[in-house]
């Protein structure tokens, strides 16, 4: 299917981007003051997320798609 090809291309493109440019992106460990804030976490509003997922799963035909690892203060 054409759409699957589009999705595959996005996937391959993303992996290529990770492998090529990303060792240069980022901050020093002591520069994570803003990223350490709970509001900057990927899942900063887990209660809202749970509510929204439930509502939109019941009212629409799409669900899911997101994960929650990474970011934060990078401590320990």
């Amino acid at each position: 299917m054409l759409q699957r090809q589009v999705v595959r291309k996005i996937l391959i493109g993303s992996i290529a981007a990770i492998l090529s440019g990303c060792s240069s992106m980022g901050v020093d460990p002591w520069d994570r003051d803003l990223l350490a804030k709970p509001e900057m976490a990927i899942n900063s509003s887990p209660l809202d997320q749970a509510v929204d997922d439930h509502i939109y799963f019941s009212k629409e035909a799409s669900s899911g798609g997101r994960s929650f690892a990474g970011g934060g203060c990078g401590c320990n």
Binding site: D28, W30, C73, C75, N76
Partner: protein, 156 residues
């Protein structure tokens, strides 16, 4: 006219030299040689680093246990705003030296790999071990490293 311009120029030059002195104070003020003969535990922390809430009470404990004539704990703060560090210290008081490094010069010099970080120097100023992170389960290890350096000195 020319006089006021000259005064302005002198003022600017003075400010630059004075300002750069202030900036230089952070890293140049830190001198390991001051602590020759003592074991130095150099800790890098920030108000937003949650494990530091556990490391401070422990550092208080060992500073008290060994006394400042044998062991010097220096905690380098990496907050960009002094107020954040002050708030943390109000909640988790420190009975050891605090050093302020808001621009991260010292952290860069010692190539800190994560937060928090600690480096243990022996009595001659040579770094003997470095730890990234603070783990309650590793406290025994940290204490053993300090103890073994102090024991070497005692047995001389």
């Amino acid at each position: 006219m020319k006089q006021s311009l000259l005064y302005k120029l002198i003022l600017v030059l003075l400010t630059i030299s004075f300002g750069s002195n202030l900036a230089a104070e952070t890293s140049s003020q830190f001198n390991l040689e001051e602590y020759e003969g003592k074991v130095v535990y150099l800790d890098f922390w920030a108000s937003w680093c949650v494990p530091c809430q556990k490391s401070f009470p422990w550092m208080n404990k060992i500073q008290k246990e060994y006394g400042t004539d044998k062991l010097v704990i220096i905690a380098v703060n990496l907050d960009k705003k002094r107020l954040l560090a002050d708030n943390f210290l109000a909640e988790y008081p420190a009975d050891f030296k605090i050093f302020y490094d808001p621009t991260g010069k010292l952290a860069k010099r010692y190539q800190i790999k994560g937060m928090p970080s600690s480096i243990i120097f022996d009595q001659s100023g040579t770094p003997v071990s470095a730890h990234t992170g603070f783990f309650k389960e590793k406290i025994q290890l940290y204490e053993q490293e300090i103890e073994s350096l102090l024991a070497k000195e005692r047995n001389k």
